[in-house]
């Protein structure tokens, strides 16, 4: 696998076709966990682990999976990796496991994993699929953390649980609740769409 290919996958998955900002996938979990930076990081880590290994496995088996049951097979593979992650987290990092509770199991339903399996892994080689998964998860994690920093600051006046509310402003309860993520993600999508549109108008769409 060429170095340029990895770079291209990185660019595409983290920026140009960011799963959250460009494809509007994975919004459900984004609404749920982004009120704390620490939870967002673990959620992102869990997703990177699950999507990378699922894509890798699905790509390995892509020649053997019967077409008519491919979605159910993909779900089986995804669920297995997520449950594995959940078990390890419970055994090794019990505190974080307790803090995230049911959210880890819900990674199974994250549309990004199925999306990468359908759009990439089932027609590309395993190593490429693995990196595609890592970068798709990374793109998701970056967006999660950006939103979490905003929400945690305005909602709790903290960063990573450390008080940074030096001026003593009144924290916004709405920022703690899921709707806040809707407002922030809306603004972010608007900004990114504008940048993309401007680029296309001036650069003539270098990348098709």
């Amino acid at each position: 696998m060429k170095k340029g290919a990895i770079k291209a996958l990185f660019r595409r998955n983290v920026w140009e076709e960011n799963q959250v900002l460009r494809q509007i996938l994975g919004i459900c979990s984004l609404l749920a966990v982004t009120n704390l930076v620490s939870n967002s990081l673990v959620m992102g880590g869990g997703l990177i682990f699950s999507v990378a290994l699922s894509s890798f496995t699905i790509s390995l088996l892509r020649e053997y999976i019967p077409h008519r049951v491919r979605m159910i097979v993909q779900t089986l593979i995804i669920a297995s990796w997520v449950i594995l992650f959940d078990i390890i987290l419970k055994a090794v990092l019990p505190d974080i496991s307790r803090a995230l509770g049911p959210y880890i199991g819900l990674i199974i339903t994250n549309c990004i994993i199925m999306g990468r399996a359908e759009a990439f892994a089932q027609m590309n080689p395993p190593v490429e699929s693995f990196f595609d998964g890592v970068f798709a998860g990374l793109g998701y994690t970056i967006v999660l953390v950006i939103i979490a920093v905003i929400r945690e600051f305005l909602g709790f006046g903290t960063f990573f649980g450390i008080n940074v509310n030096f001026v003593g402003f009144q924290t916004w309860t709405i920022m703690v609740m899921p709707p806040a993520a809707f407002f922030i993600i809306g603004v972010m999508i608007w900004i990114v769409n504008n940048i993309m549109a401007r680029k296309q108008a001036s650069g003539g769409g270098k990348r098709g």
Binding site: L36, H67, S80, I88, K90
Partner: protein
């Protein structure tokens, strides 16, 4: 065998399921002792905390040295003792329905059952950042020292604050607490000597 034949599909699906189920079963079996131990430690930690005992360097040793298990009806409770062997307090399990799911934990009560020593949760599924704040220390600590008056339910106000924006979870905790306390009082003859 053709890839889209029924037989292939069935064999493939069964084989793959068997492989992944085995992988998960092995992992689960391997980590089960650690997971069970982690859960037991969370419970031990909560029990020590409601009785105001510091877990010290070794949680398990402190737990077995400082506490005696006892039975209240068919409920497992724990008693702590002072240097003379007199009971200092009891840790009594707390269990009930929160806003979103069950809330489980322990309350500590004094030996004469006339005041709360503390409250801790082992399991709660309230909204993180809102109802989930019932698990924050400032909230739980205000229950330490609350007097238990027979026939009088504990209520918010007068030094006991509910959580802003999480009225339902706050009330759920209070209801569970009052239920637990009245349940506890049915064992009064056995416990308070």
């Amino acid at each position: 065998m053709k890839k889209d034949s029924y037989l292939y599909t069935i064999i493939f699906t069964f084989a793959l399921t068997a492989v992944f189920a085995t992988m998960l079963a092995i992992t689960q079996a391997y980590y089960l002792p650690a997971i069970t131990e982690n859960e037991a430690n969370v419970e031990r930690h909560a029990i020590l905390k409601v009785l105001g005992i510091s877990p010290g360097d070794d949680l398990v040793t402190t737990f077995s040295e400082q506490l005696q298990p006892a039975l209240a009806g068919d409920l497992q409770i724990y008693a702590s003792y002072d240097a003379n062997g007199d009971v200092l307090g009891y840790a009594y399990p707390l269990d009930g329905q929160g806003l979103w799911g069950s809330i489980r934990g322990y309350i500590g009560v004094s030996a004469s059952l006339d005041r709360l020593l503390g409250m801790e949760f082992i399991e709660q599924n309230e909204t993180p950042g809102l109802g989930g704040r019932i698990d924050e220390d400032w909230f739980k600590e205000q229950f330490a020292g609350v007097p238990l008056v027979p026939g009088e339910a504990i209520a918010y106000g007068d030094g006991l604050d509910a959580i802003t924006g999480a009225t339902s979870s706050s009330n759920a905790v209070l209801n569970i607490l009052n239920d637990t306390v009245s349940d506890l009082m049915t064992h009064k003859e056995v416990l308070a000597r």
